[in-house]
Amino acid sequence: MTEYLLILVSTILVNNFVLVQFLGLCPFMGVSGKLETAMGMSLATTFVLTLSSVCSYLAYTYLLEPLNLAFLKTITFILVIAVVVQFTEMVVRKTSPLLYRVLGIFLPLITTNCAVLGVALLNLNRNNNFVESVLYGFGAALGFSLVLIFFAAMRERIAVSDVPVPFRGAAIGMVTAGLMALAFLGFTGLVSV
């Protein structure tokens, strides 16, 4: 039980996927302009990351490993992720039009989020079992959401503040992200997993 908790803490804070491992930076910079879109993106990512983490674990353990095809893992994972995303999009669209409208374009966009593939591959490196894979994916998504929402909230404030001209726009965004990464480095040593 403790180790499961540790996995969550580790992925959310200590080894945060965005700020410490630098995965999924494109949506981090891209959709953090508004808090509302950031929340939509977070929701969609949480959904997809957890699901794809599980599916790629299953595909690896029950298909690739028995057949000695470990070298196919990257391409298989990409395939699995793309299908999972497409499938969820269809299901969500049918079952919950409201959720579909909230997630909107972000759902298919997540396919290209490198954190998704990163989680799938890191699962193997860490020799995670099934439950651990679920938690690892979920934790990574929570960490991503946390940072994305914080960052979006900050950028909304920065947008109305008096930033020196050379720093306006993306520049101050990068500076802010860097400072956030520094702050998250402070969690190093909190737990060791």
Binding site: L69, L72, T76, L79, M90
Partner: protein
């Protein structure tokens, strides 16, 4: 060596086939209802929400057209709308159904303000909220919002609302729209000098 390559290719092919089948099944199983055609028809209608077609507004009429209603019931859109609809639905264009009113040049409602008694009846009738005013105060029409649908004329108890034809001035004048194939017979091309708003719009789009 060769066996492992064949196995690898086979596994990937199998995976792709399974996933393809899954997605194909999902596309059928979770097909979304709601006809995109209605949206397209709705986009062609003039959005006056006047109800002259006998339906409560443009969207309901679009749905009715989708279900087989005649396309010639929209006087504000006139011939241009009918032609566009005929084009979209791939049917023969028909002359405007005179039962629902004749096509007219673009008009706006104007309230003779010194006669207005402030009864708010026209405000309630206006489908696009283009009339401004409150009880026992003078009302006026926001000209840019008015769709010229006539609906406010009828309820006015003192008949102080005029429908004024907008004369084209230097800002709003456009060329007479090009003659569309299958145009209404009996009307010489360019016989109407004043284009309706929707015609002007199609003309602008055709220039782009």
């Amino acid at each position: 060596m060769w066996t492992s390559i064949i196995i690898a290719v086979g596994v990937l092919l199998g995976l792709a086939a399974v996933f393809g089948a899954l997605l194909g099944f999902a596309a059928e199983r979770f097909k979304v209802e709601g006809n995109p055609l209605v949206d397209q028809i709705d986009a062609l209608l003039p959005q006056t929400q006047c109800g002259q077609c006998g339906f409560p507004g443009c969207r309901p009429y679009a749905e009715a057209i989708n279900n087989g209603a005649a396309i010639n019931k929209c006087p504000p859109g006139g011939e241009a709308t009918i032609n566009a609809l005929a084009d979209l639905l791939d049917v023969e264009p028909q002359p405007l159904d005179s039962e629902h009113g004749a096509a007219q040049a673009k008009r706006v409602a104007v309230i003779r303000e010194d006669e207005c008694i402030g009864c708010t009846k026209c405000i309630q009738a206006c489908p696009v909220d283009a009339i401004l005013g409150s009880a026992k105060h003078m009302h006026t029409v926001i000209e840019s919002e008015c769709t010229g649908c006539d609906l406010c004329v009828e309820p006015c108890p003192v008949d102080c609302i005029d429908m004024i034809v907008i004369e084209p001035d230097i800002h709003s004048w456009t060329w007479a729209p090009p003659v569309v194939k299958g145009a209404v017979p009996g009307e010489a091309p360019g016989s109407r000098l004043i284009a309706t708003d929707s015609e002007a719009k199609t003309h602008e789009e055709s220039l782009l």
